[in-house]
Amino acid sequence: MLRWTDQRMERFIGGLLRVGVLLSAALVLAGAVVHLAGHAGDRPDLHVFRGEPLALREIGGILRGALAVEGRGLIQLGLLVLVATPVARVGFSVFAFAAQRDRTYVLVTMAVLAILSFSLFGVRGHP
């Protein structure tokens, strides 16, 4: 079995980040094209803060929108992939440090992962 040396870990992380960014950019671009195709003549109004509709604030609603090939849902899914990329990097590091039998850094990395999970899943939006 190949050992997860620091160098090998770094190479894998580099590839992971690249795939995440490219996938995210592709989804955002596709969503922007779909949205603009239907709304090119809209008058955007971002001067006043209203907050996004709930369907664009939670993972379930975003997935439904994206699967329906709805422009804003697709963009939001791409943005979720973007946010998930560094989170995946931290998640992978837990595994890699475990493979190195480095208990201290397994704990350190899990602490970071817990904070990130709280932000992504633990915060309720106000309607």
Binding site: D42, R43, P44, G51, R72, Q76, L79, L82, R89, F118
Partner: protein, 279 residues
């Protein structure tokens, strides 16, 4: 203006912002937020949300290139991410409870500081040798990076102070939607005494994770508008990568002065608009 025209203008502006941010070493966020708020009249919360996303894109995109060079220190980065992510969460919560005009004033002040910092010379690594921090030894943070003749060893110092500064950097990132890269580099460079090459790549590596910690809060609070974020992210990313590629080929002092001047003007404008309650 129609959505198509606005989106194209915002995309062009974001491309320039990413480019400028990379050339000054300050990151796209510090230029994108004033651009959206001042030039396009976008509500500061939407501007900060879109900027934060572009910060994640830039960090991941650039880190993908650097990380394979074996320059960044994964252990130092991961340990300090505990501080930056906690700070970022706190910053994002504070952002939801203070008026945007106050956020604008803080943004202006941070921007002024950043403009000054961008002119500073990189810290000299010379100086009397100091004992390595026992915490750094216990956490096996000392490392090495590839130099001209084999790998160069280095020690990590002053972990608690670096950790504290990182929490502040994370807080500013979550409050203002910026990467806080300059402050992160100072913490690792001047305080923890990492070699410049290591600190700048490790900092860049950490920025994405830090920003992800506040992005969840922003999403739940409805700050992330897809129609605005799309041209911003798609503009800042290529702009920043182009700037990072061009940086070592330019690197003139005059150029840095000009850019620092631009940032300072934006800072004053943010301060003024914030103080008069217009943002």
């Amino acid at each position: 203006m129609t959505l198509l025209a606005t989106s194209l203008l915002i995309w062009t502006g974001s491309l320039l912002a990413g480019f400028l941010g990379a050339l000054t070493g300050l990151g796209g966020g510090v230029v994108v937020v004033p651009l959206l708020a001042l030039a396009f009249g976008v509500d500061l919360r939407y501007a900060i949300g879109a900027s934060l996303l572009s910060v994640i894109a830039t960090s991941s995109g650039a880190a993908a290139a650097y990380v394979r060079d074996g320059l960044s220190n994964v252990r130092v980065g991961m340990f300090l991410e505990i501080a930056t992510t906690l700070g970022a969460l706190a910053g994002a919560f504070v952002a939801a409870h203070v008026p945007t005009s106050a956020v604008a004033v803080v943004f202006g002040l941070v921007l002024l500081g950043a403009a000054g910092l961008s002119l500073r010379h990189p810290a000299s690594q010379a100086g009397p040798p100091r004992p390595a921090d026992p915490i750094a030894i216990a956490l096996r943070m000392d490392g090495s990076y590839p130099g001209h003749d084999g790998r160069i060893e280095y020690h990590v110092r002053n972990v608690p102070a670096g950790f504290g500064l990182m929490a502040v950097a994370g807080g500013l990132s979550g409050l203002l939607g910026i990467g806080s890269g300059a402050l992160k580099v100072i913490a690792m460079d001047d305080v923890m005494r990492l070699p410049f090459k290591v600190s700048s790549t490790t900092s860049n590596f950490m920025i994405g994770v830090t920003a992800a910690a506040s992005a969840g809060v922003y999403l739940a609070r409805g700050y992330l508008d897809p129609v605005l974020a799309a041209p911003v992210v798609l503009g800042v990313l290529p702009g920043a990568l182009l700037g990072a590629w061009l940086l070592p080929r330019l690197g003139g002092r005059v150029l840095r002065l000009v850019f620092a001047g631009v940032i300072a003007v934006l800072a004053v404008e943010m301060l003024y608009q914030g103080a008069t309650g217009r943002l």
